[in-house]
Symmetry: C2
Subunit: 481 residues, 2 copies
């Protein structure tokens, strides 16, 4: 399973000396993603210049029986881009970053898989367009397809799946066959849409080398507001009120627990306290976006009209409102993860619920965790507008190191409740990787896993990546044969 | 291949006498869909009451070796719901119409597959919500999934794929296994999204019995406007201007050729002429939709501001504008198909192009058709905002019956050009069925068809429906084995 000198020499001949990395420091860096460094040590990192080289690398790795894992921006949170076996070969997308073609009339971009989200958005902005998936991180497009990234503006614009129109992909079939699924078209129903299987596949169904995605008009007027709520449950009423009043202009509705807000403000010195009084039990960040015929002042007036009845008397749901016409309040929202890390050891669960269940779930699970894992403090935040919740807990630094077993126990309680009792998801928008494959196996019915595994083998006959969606590699091959 | 009395008796025992139809008139009706009556005569039509009966019917049909085809609202246009072999059994969804559950906080509906679009929208409207796929026809949800219906508001809301969150499906595996893919969640990335393969699969990958779809806030303010253009090419400039100015409030941008507009006004007596002067070369219908904090007058003012510079001088792109605050102008757009049928024999092509290519393609193909099929008159219309074009031609009644071969020749020219020269689609939103399976085979690379066929067999091991996405039934089984 480890690469011999013959493979390494062949790779070096293909991509050139400087694009075949095997120094200890390079191998160390490749073992970490956006969460932790728990990947196995690869034999090398190969950096192809184009799809033809990707294809040749797939052939070489398959021929030598060396596992191949694709690595994008290393911003993933489930380990799907890390080697799971010592000696695996890492294929880095970072040199596949030359093509960024914007078609402004069609409102689409065709980009190499190694192009960063920020680079795509910079190119699109020149045409008054945007790839409207908002994240704290700056991943590569290939990784965004593998994870089906959602983010904070999902409520209006959807996820990568919604935007993806075409992919060029290298199959792991030993021949490294290059295929193209889809076209640069908004409507296209001339057959089964095979590219859909690649979305959210954790890089295990083929190596995307280029993609065409839909862009949206870049909003010309924007207003953000941070609302202090006396009672978190009021958030759901507020969400419906805003959707009714603003319709498609509501582009984000984010929730931040009082604990998470306090952690961000305490540990990120560039932030200023948004509210006059003490911090509330819960805060909601909303964003309104409109075209050039509107302005932020007009949005602010209308928001005032809508919220006034909720603020006028004592005991009303909204305690305070901070507004900003220049996106400034997003800094508070995006500082929350850093605030939590500074507060202590984070036990993270990326879950999704029906929107109406979010607040009930918070109450329910906070009580269960207090009993089963005392000392862990809930610091949740997330995308209330789409039911996506970063149900994260913190073991405070002051309490010493995180005791053995607490994290696993807490996560088991959360995942069991969210899936089996609430009908929710154990992975809202981070995908499936080595860090949550156990949940995938636990919660996915065997019949569905058998089909998923067979699908995976159809597109990727030679295993690539770090995830097996089936019930076991040998078992499924028997099923298909 | 025809059903013997044993199967018929078993079906009758299962669903009851009145739900097993075999009278000549019933069989005749079941041979037609939204376009023509070219289906083969089925042996019977069976109307199951629930998913358990669907499952039992699949087992019975498979056990007797009788082909099974699912029929929804018979509004499809490619024949995918019609029997292709005499003696096939039709499974009608029309009694699967009892469940319509609206979750207003989650903004989703769970509905039986036989529920009509109009019934879903009536139920959603009670909660201020909408399933925003706008069509002239009134299909069933099951058929909408099979065709991946798009319609006239795709520009803002997307297609059925965008909205579909979960399906319950009966597999054709001889056991009639019932499976559920997905959940009532906006974000959910805990595995491969297998339900995606069912979308746009023409009913050939399993029988959907129930589905959960996302709803959108029902707009509280709406303005429609019909714009008379001196030059069709101005439509693309206008589209970008509206997207920039109104952002997400632009919910439709439809194009109607002067010939199609004239045919609608001539043959549909309830319509009134929208413009003061003579009919223009091209008309564009736009729709703006907003929440309750806005009103139609405000939208009309802003539209006036945006359009004024395009109308003020002689020789400007916009000749006239008719506005309506109550959706009245949609009647003209939806009357176009009837207008064309009254004008003569229609040769229809449902194609998609990059938006920037639409007007160039019209010019190009009008010239080629004039040379190759003289007498056919282009009467195109469609969804310019998403590049979907009903590139329809009319052989006028005054010219006598449509000569043999003209329709096939015209369609071949259009499809060859759209796919091989323009990179477009031969089926934008009508899916694949017996009427265009030849185009599917012609334009889909064999490698992709092999994978598609193998996928189809994985989910639907016993053939159902009327479409084979593979390269031939026996050939693919060899590939998989």
């Amino acid at each position: 399973m480890s690469a011999g000198p013959v493979l390494i020499d062949a790779l070096r001949a293909l991509v050139g000396d400087r694009n075949l990395l095997a120094a200890a420091e390079d191998l160390r860096v490749a073992q970490a993603d956006g969460r932790v460094a728990d990947g196995s040590e690869p034999c090398a990192i190969v950096r192809p210049a184009d799809a033809a080289q990707v294809s040749e690398i797939v052939r070489l790795a398959a021929g030598h029986g060396v596992p191949l894992v694709v690595q994008g921006g290393r911003t993933g949170l489930v380990g799907a881009g890390l080697a799971q076996q010592a000696g695996a070969l890492i294929l880095s997308l970072d040199r596949l970053d030359r093509c960024i073609e914007i078609d402004p009339v069609n409102r689409m971009a065709t980009v190499d898989a190694g192009v960063r989200l920020s680079a795509l958005n910079a190119a699109a902005a020149e045409f008054g367009l945007s790839f409207p998936i908002d994240l704290g991180a700056d991943p590569m497009i290939g990784g965004m397809i593998a994870a089906n990234t959602g983010g904070a503006r999902f409520l209006r614009y959807g996820d990568v799946r919604t935007a993806l129109k075409a992919v060029e992909v290298v199959r792991s079939d030993g021949t490294g066959e290059r295929m193209r699924f889809g076209a640069a078209l908004w409507k296209n129903n001339g057959g089964l849409d095979l590219k859909q299987l690649l979305v959210g596949s954790s890089g295990a169904l083929g190596i995307v080398t280029r993609a065409t995605v839909a862009l949206q008009p870049l909003p010309q007027a924007r207003l953000t507001a941070l609302l202090a709520l006396a009672d978190p449950h009021a958030a759901l009423m507020l969400l419906r009120l805003l959707e009714d009043g603003f319709g498609t202009l509501l582009t984000a509705f984010e929730g931040i627990s009082g604990a998470a807000l306090a952690a961000a403000l305490r540990h990120v010195p560039t932030l200023r306290a948004p509210f006059g009084g003490p911090l509330p039990a819960y805060a909601v960040l909303i964003e309104l976006s409109a075209g050039s015929l509107f302005d932020a002042a007009e949005l602010e007036d209308k928001l005032g009209t809508l919220l006034a009845p909720l603020m006028e008397r004592d005991g009303t749901p909204i305690l305070d409102v901070a507004t900003d016409r220049r996106d400034g309040l997003w800094a508070i929202r995006h500082a929350v993860p850093e605030g939590l890390r500074s507060e202590g050891a984070v036990v993270a669960c990326d879950i999704a619920l029906r929107r109406g269940d979010v607040m009930r779930f918070r109450d329910d699970l906070a009580a269960r965790l207090a009993a089963a894992a005392p000392g862990l403090v809930l610091h949740d935040f997330g995308h209330i507008g789409d039911g996506g919740l970063h149900f994260n807990c913190v073991w405070p630094k002051a309490a010493g190191p995180l005791p053995d077993g607490i994290a696993d126990r807490a996560r088991a309680i959360v995942f069991d409740a969210v899936v089996t009792e609430y009908g929710g998801s154990f992975s809202a928008e981070h995908g499936v990787g080595p860090r949550n494959i156990a949940q995938y196996r636990r919660f996915t019915p065997p019949g569905e896993r058998r089909i998923a595994g067979a699908m995976q083998r159809l597109i990727a006959p030679v295993p690539i990546g770090s995830v097996d969606f089936g019930t076991g590699w040998s078992e499924e091959l028997d099923d298909v044969e």
